[in-house]
């Protein structure tokens, strides 16, 4: 039996001065799921006049309107839903250099930031997600790329991104390449449709990306690109993959592929000046050894170094110091300053190199503008206590790289002319 429902829509500014809009409409709701669309043609109140515009980090404020829809049945409140709304447009275009650029409200956004991954136990509190977003946004990072390999961040993460002006590059499930094991298409599709249904109202999301590095499996990627996203959203760009082109999709004009290790500082400037892969780089990074007070919490035998590779030992290896890309930081410290006599000296120097390296990446990217509009790091946060690829660690303790990125990505940053 259809029920007569009075829908009351209220749009009010959240924390700034602006007129409140409220209107109502009576509908007949069918049993089960019923989608009812409020259109500006029927409700001129939905046309916002001179709205407060939402901008990303460093480009302006991030005002949000609170939209509350209340359903009343026979005068009683039956149900109510609230959503935050920001007013902005997003888009993308290809630079003359061949690199991809993203826009917000028609303005090209300097893409800074990196990949974000969920924690190993999936047990973080809501506050943890808010803190990680705040760290990224206050570190002058404009974009975060969700690289959960299939794990989507919770609602609170996107809420925090909306409030902090952090744009989200939403990477869908990392599905296997077609030659390998395929995911069940129907399960995957239902999962992603459900996710898009919830996430699409967050204006922080700037782009949908089919799959990290590889291509999404075709039986899911093609309908997503051609039917589902245009129907469910249609306001954001779609990229088939972060690093692979598909014959059935538009060219992506970007590259992953690192380098994932510390290079000599000048090398970064050379790469950004001369290599096409660096016109839009979405993965680059280096080893980031933990600071002492994080390290002693995860490496109980930190003061028992191996005879060959001071100050490392097997436990360091368990925390990713056996990675080939770690060796460059290790070698650089030892070959520049000699065998270090103590752990703390090693860690100070490692931290110094981390800071210098990350600063060089963004200074080189700054210098290469307008060839380059975006550099994303692999990666920003830590899924577990690791010695690799992070601007802040498992305990949310930043390293010098975090503050180096913050410095290099300031709207006005003075840089020494290295070359």
């Amino acid at each position: 039996m259809p029920v007569s429902v009075k829908l009351i829509t209220r749009i009010e500014p959240d924390g700034f001065a602006s007129p409140i809009v409220e209107f109502s409409q009576n509908i007949n709701a069918e049993p089960g799921r019923h989608e009812f669309v409020l259109r500006p043609a029927d409700h001129p109140e939905l046309k916002m006049h001179d709205p407060h515009i939402w901008w990303p980090v460093n480009y302006g404020k991030h005002p949000l309107y609170k939209v509350t829809v209340t359903a009343r049945v026979r005068g009683e409140v039956s149900s109510s839903a609230t959503s935050m709304l920001g007013v902005r447009t997003v888009g993308t275009y290809v630079l003359h250099s061949g690199g991809r650029a993203f826009t917000c409200n028609g303005r090209t956004i300097r893409v800074t930031g990196g990949a974000w991954i969920p924690d190993m136990l999936l047990s973080w509190s809501a506050q943890r997600y808010r803190d990680e977003v705040r760290l990224m946004a206050q570190g002058n990072q404009t974009v975060v790329r969700i690289n959960g390999c299939g794990v989507m961040p919770p609602e609170v993460f996107f809420d925090a991104c909306d409030r902090n002006g952090l744009l989200v590059w939403e990477n869908f499930s990392r599905t296997s390449p077609p030659t390998k094991m395929q995911a069940d298409k129907n399960v995957l599709m239902a999962n992603m449709v459900d996710f898009v249904d919830g996430a699409r109202s967050h204006q922080s999301i700037v782009v949908w990306e089919g799959s990290n590095e590889s291509l999404p499996q075709k039986n899911w990627g093609q309908p997503m690109q051609n039917k589902i996203l245009p129907a469910m959203d249609g306001t954001r760009p779609w990229l088939v993959s972060s690093s692979t082109n598909a014959p059935w999709a538009k060219p992506i004009h970007m590259k992953s592929g690192g380098p994932y290790r510390l290079l000599p500082i000048k090398k970064y400037f050379e790469l950004y000046q001369h290599r096409s892969a660096f016109t839009c780089k979405n993965e680059i990074g280096m080893a980031c050894p933990l600071p002492l007070n994080s390290l002693v919490r995860v490496i109980p035998d930190w003061n028992k170094p191996d005879q060959v590779d001071f100050p490392l030992n097997v436990t360091f290896g368990f925390h990713d110091a056996t990675s080939k890309q770690y060796q460059d930081t290790h070698d650089t410290i030892r070959s520049t300053f000699g065998p270090t006599p103590d752990l703390m000296q090693y860690l100070w120097l490692a931290d110094l190199y981390t800071g210098t390296g990350y600063r060089a990446i963004y200074e080189a990217a700054n210098k290469a503008r307008p060839l380059n509009a975006g550099t994303m790091l692999w990666k920003v946060n830590a899924a577990w206590p690791s010695m690799m690829w992070q601007l802040f660690d498992w305990y949310m303790r930043p390293n010098a790289g975090y503050y180096a990125v913050k410095e290099a990505c300031k709207p006005l940053h003075v840089r020494r002319r290295l070359m």
């Binding site: 590779d309 070959s335 100070w348 802040f392 303790r397 390293n399 010098a400």
Partner: protein, 340 residues
């Protein structure tokens, strides 16, 4: 708002500020600083803003800790703005080893005013004859003493006074006298009949001495007749493989760096050697005749021939050695084995 100043006459790099849960407590995380890991020029000061949740203090008072690569740690109470006493005292400072090659000193300190679980890094100045030679870092937590070994190489002949600790804090000071003996006269071994160098880049360190010989990059200095570990443009730490006409017994080596054969600024700070009775370049696993010998070169870029004695006397017909240096490129170098 926290103000920090470099009160010294030298720059201080990578200065970290942390908010702590009480005296020497755990760091309050997350903590949002306007800037951190800063560099301060002499007498420069900076103001930094910080925000954190009071709940993160876990009921303790907020303290702020400042540490730097070459800065004495300082802790203040944010509520009162007063300095929190931090103090260390030496437990031991004694000569550990004394050889011709140099001396090592065992150093041990303990914190005398520590309460919390935090590790604090103390960069202790080490002065040789009144002049600061380096900083050694001791990581101290609670009442656990911290140990480190300070190695001295290539000090001039005669007696030297080593002073460890902060000159403005006499309680931290330790002094020890060490003596460097006179140099022996060296007797060079005959030149090897063949030498080759290989690229260890794809195998280091497992294949450090498990050489795969690919190219001939060894030269001979016409003037002195010394073997020449020249790698020119090749950007790696070479492993040099040397074959003598018959088994040799060596007690040391002489070594000098010559930059005319490579980019200036090549700094070899260590040479590792291993002796074999049979050819280690063959596919069969040949055991070394002795443990590795490691020579530290205290003053890189030294064009003068210096004598570096081994800790053991080594014998073998095949010698594999590796130069470890800055940029992985030793440039040109001269080295030759010396009879015991």
């Amino acid at each position: 708002m926290i103000s920090v100043r470099n009160t010294s006459d030298v720059p201080t790099v990578n200065v970290w500020l942390e908010v702590l849960q009480g005296a020497q407590g755990r760091e309050v995380l997350p903590c949002f600083w306007s800037a951190n890991a800063i560099t301060l020029l002499p007498h420069e000061s900076r103001e930094l803003r910080v925000s954190f949740r009071t709940a993160s203090l876990a009921g303790a008072q907020a303290h702020c800790m400042v540490e730097g690569f070459n800065a004495m740690p300082r802790e203040i109470s944010i509520a009162t703005g007063h300095l929190v006493p931090l103090a260390i005292k030496p437990l031991a400072c004694k000569l550990a080893t004394e050889q011709y090659r140099g001396q090592t000193i065992d150093l041990s300190y303990v914190s005398t005013a520590t309460t919390g679980p935090r590790f604090t890094s103390w960069p202790l100045p080490v002065a040789v004859d009144g002049k600061i030679d380096r900083y050694v870092h001791l990581d101290l937590c609670g009442t656990t003493p911290g140990h480190t070994t300070v190695a001295f190489r290539g000090l001039s002949e005669g007696e030297h006074t080593i002073t460890v600790g902060y000159p403005n804090d006499p309680a931290t000071l330790e002094t020890i006298k060490i003596k460097t003996p006179s140099r022996p006269v060296v007797s060079l071994l005959p030149r090897p009949v063949a030498s080759k160098s290989s690229d260890p880049e794809h195998g280091y360190p497992e294949k450090l001495f498990d050489v795969s010989l690919t190219s001939d990059m060894i030269g001979t200095d016409d003037l002195t007749g010394y073997t020449y570990a020249s790698v020119g443009l090749h950007n790696f730490m070479p492993v040099i493989w040397t074959r003598y006409s018959k088994s040799v017994t060596a007690g040391g080596l002489v070594y000098a760096e010559r930059n005319d054969q490579g980019p200036a600024g090549s700094k070899v700070f260590q040479i590792k050697l291993r002796f074999y009775a049979a050819d280690p370049g063959t596919s069969a696993k040949v055991p070394a005749t002795h443990p590795d010998e490691t020579i530290d070169i205290p003053k890189p870029n030294n064009p003068n021939l210096n004598y570096y004695p081994f800790t053991h006397i080594h014998a073998g017909r095949y010698v594999v050695l590796q130069l470890i240096g800055q940029d992985r490129n030793p440039g040109g170098a001269e080295l030759r084995l010396v009879a015991p």
